[in-house]
Amino acid sequence: MILRTIFSILLLASINANAQKEAAVFINAKVFPVNAEPIENGALVIQNGKIIFVGKADELKGGFENIIDVSGKVILPGLVDTHSHIGEGDGGDRSSTTHPDVRILDAIDPNSDTFKKAIAGGITTVNVMPGSGHLMSGQTVYLKLRKDSKVIEDMLFCEDPLNDICGGLKMANGTNSLREPPFTGTRGKSAAVIRQLFIKAVEYKSQIDRAAGDHEKMPARNIEMEALLEVLDGRRIVQHHTHRADDIITVIRLSKEFGFKVVLHHVSEGWKVAEEIAEANVPCSIIMIDSPGGKLEAVNLIYKTGAVLEEAGVDVAYHTDDGITDSRFFLRSAAFGVRAGMSYNKSIEALTLAGARMLGLENRVGSLETGKDADFIILSGDPLSLYTRVEQTWVEGEKVFDFNDPESRKYSLGGYEVYRGDYQYLHNCGGEE
């Protein structure tokens, strides 16, 4: 048994060494670092799962053996999806409309084929959220779609799920969460419930402050309050579903009252209050859908939301909201942004670095910079063109998707018994998105 363990450790070590010790050089592609202008004839060098060089190919000093010529291709950072329901997880149940204690990481299936669809679409970082049928449906989780992930721990950004903050907090307002008791029935009541909960959290915090480290005086542990403390401290970001202009303003009002950090999600009518959003300095994660409607709040959802928000100076990211749109087509969102007037570079940023900022992960992912994780995608051409394929997806220096490998490609194309196909709308069980 001991021998076997030692053998396993040695084997693991040797695999890692093979995969990562030697630097790999991707050369002659058009490289989009995102934090800087695109580089024609660029080079990207990775080693040990990190980026060690980004620049012009002819500025690269010699000495590398593993050189991969990707002439004619385009390299982008791995895409960051700020709002998705892949992984077949769920959040809070029907017992309450607020579940700050509930973690979606306790419910995700790492073997779900939905993750394979995401990497086929070029997504390497994803914020998996519980649904929007609650005012507060639970804690979200930031995942890295690493190769051969078997358990959720293999996919986390945080190192220790017992002590670290591993995601955001999902909140929602507007119509999805308006239901029969114990849910709220009106917008006014929804805001009141949230305010009362945060007031309780502020009180819990002052109890802790008053205890000043004295264990005798500390309040009893309360995992609902603990999560909300992280929100009040700004360490856990509120990822807030909101559509209608007045609902957007309500989120901003609440975030100011309690000083929490918030990202607005969907923001269908954001174009009506773009100035107010910019004034409040709140970022927006938006969705591109082919047609408006499907529910009252999405009737005014239009292609130009990204352009209007950009114009107003708001930080904009796109998300899939997968099942609502398909992770495989994520690049298409930015293309429609440009169609409706968004600038080209901002639209690329909206798929990558802007999303990383909204998850507080911009030091790790979202751009191709020395020292960041070696997460990138190799495209056959212009990122915003219909004719472009995601050919390869790399996560932390390992190839996780290759369109030329039939086993991999099938998750891009679909077909007989490729997907289990049973997860769809799971996130609607507790209310709709």
Partner: protein, 402 residues
């Protein structure tokens, strides 16, 4: 006198858009009847296409308003949608595509529910879709009838192209999620067989020489009898291979030729589909891969094309967000995954025109057809291209790039 007449005529021409004369120039014109024309021109007069040709060969008559664009196509046709019955708000009162009181109600007419002022109809128009085959949705064994409509209208008299086009049937899991009965696939087929047997009997009595033998009018049996005698076609939404075969079995037993709708697993039955020369309205390329369409492939349009199986594309039915798909984008995705550009265009123009029996008037840019025309500022399928003008029956109805 002559001058006054000319003046009056000029006023009429200027102010009656239906009579306006337009010349549309395009770098490329996809007429869908022959090769594309480079540096082409389409002349429009009195709502009809007057001439199509090269700019160098066609002289623009005096007084014609000149429009220019990169790419010109015929008005697009959505071969199967529920828009107009299914509305943008998704409230109970704007959802008329599926009546849940009974699984078999072929007597429900589409024209009694179609709302020409539905916002989604105008939304589709802004993306170049000028004609839709719409009506009762998938989800019931027989949900009701379908119709053909123009997406642009000025009155309640002008938008119906065909008031009774097909009767919509569905086999598959979606039916049992909507009704307590049938609860299984076999029961579903048995229920339909029983109805068709009744309709057979009804039809026999209808045709009887003895007036006393003729049946009392029964709306349900009347429409099913029309399906049996070939007056109205049966549209079968079938996605799983097992359901496709069940529909063909029914069609064989009762002697009608079905139009197949969805057909997600059609790639498993290429020979069957090809030999029977079936009319096919393929599922939206980007259809969600769950339920009956969980095995859908992005390459099915290409596979069908390579197998020589003709098809049209559709927007289908969407229950939530987005509330409808857009055939322009579905054809774009089919093209992206291997369907040649002109074939992708055909799947949303001339193919559905033929399938719907309206190719005498729409579906291609040919002299004498209605001037339904879309002007693009680039490759019509590129995500970043725009629909810049939409012309319906010679009238410019959308004039901003979208």
């Amino acid at each position: 006198m002559k001058i006054i007449l000319t003046f009056i005529l000029a006023v009429i021409v200027c102010f009656n858009p239906a009579l306006s004369q337009i010349a549309v120039k395009g770098e490329t014109i996809y007429t869908m009847s022959g090769d594309p024309i480079e540096k082409g021109i389409v002349l429009i007069n009195k709502g009809k296409i007057e001439k199509v040709g090269r700019q160098s060969d066609v002289q623009i008559p005096e007084g014609y308003k000149i429009l220019e664009g990169k790419v010109i196509t015929p008005g697009l046709i959505d071969a199967r949608t529920v828009v107009g019955l299914s509305g943008i708000y998704n409230y109970r009162h704007d959802q008329d595509q599926l009546e849940k009181s009974d699984a078999i109600q072929p007597e429900l007419r589409a024209v009694d529910a179609y709302n020409k002022d539905e916002k989604l109809v105008d939304f589709l128009l802004s993306l170049g879709i000028t004609t839709i085959h719409t009506g009762h949705g998938p989800g019931a064994l027989a949900s009701g009838q379908t119709m053909i409509a123009k997406t642009y209208s000025e009155s309640y008299n002008d938008y119906v192209v065909d008031s009774l086009t097909m009767v919509a049937f569905t086999l598959g899991n979606t039916v049992r999620s909507n009704y307590s009965k049938p609860g299984t696939r076999s029961k579903a087929v048995a229920m339909l067989r029983s109805e068709f047997l009744k309709a057979q009997e009804y039809l026999k009595k209808q045709n009887s020489n003895d007036e006393k033998e003729r049946p009392k009018r029964d709306l349900k049996l009347e429409i099913l009898a029309k399906v049996l005698n070939g007056d109205v076609r049966a549209l079968f939404t079938v996605n799983r291979a097992v359901d496709i075969m069940a529909a063909l079995r029914l069609a064989d037993e009762f002697g009608f030729k079905p139009v197949l709708d969805g057909v997600a697993e059609g790639y498993l039955l290429l020979d069957e589909l090809k030999v029977r020369k079936l009319e096919i309205i393929l599922h939206p390329t980007m259809v969600r891969t769950y339920g009956d369409t969980k095995n859908a492939s992005l390459e099915t349009p290409k596979t069908f094309y390579e197998a020589g199986i003709l098809f049209s594309l559709q927007s289908g039915y969407e229950s939530y967000v987005p509330k409808t798909r857009v055939v322009l984008f579905e054809a774009a995705m089919a093209h992206s995954y291997g369907l040649p550009l002109e074939e992708a265009l055909a799947s949303i123009t001339i193919n559905p025109a033929k399938l719907l029996g309206i190719d005498e008037s729409v579906g291609s840019l040919e002299e004498g057809k209605f001037a339904d025309i879309v002007v693009f500022d680039g490759n019509p399928f590129e995500y970043t291209s725009h629909v810049c003008k939409v012309i319906v029956k010679g009238k410019i109805v959308k004039d901003e790039c979208f």
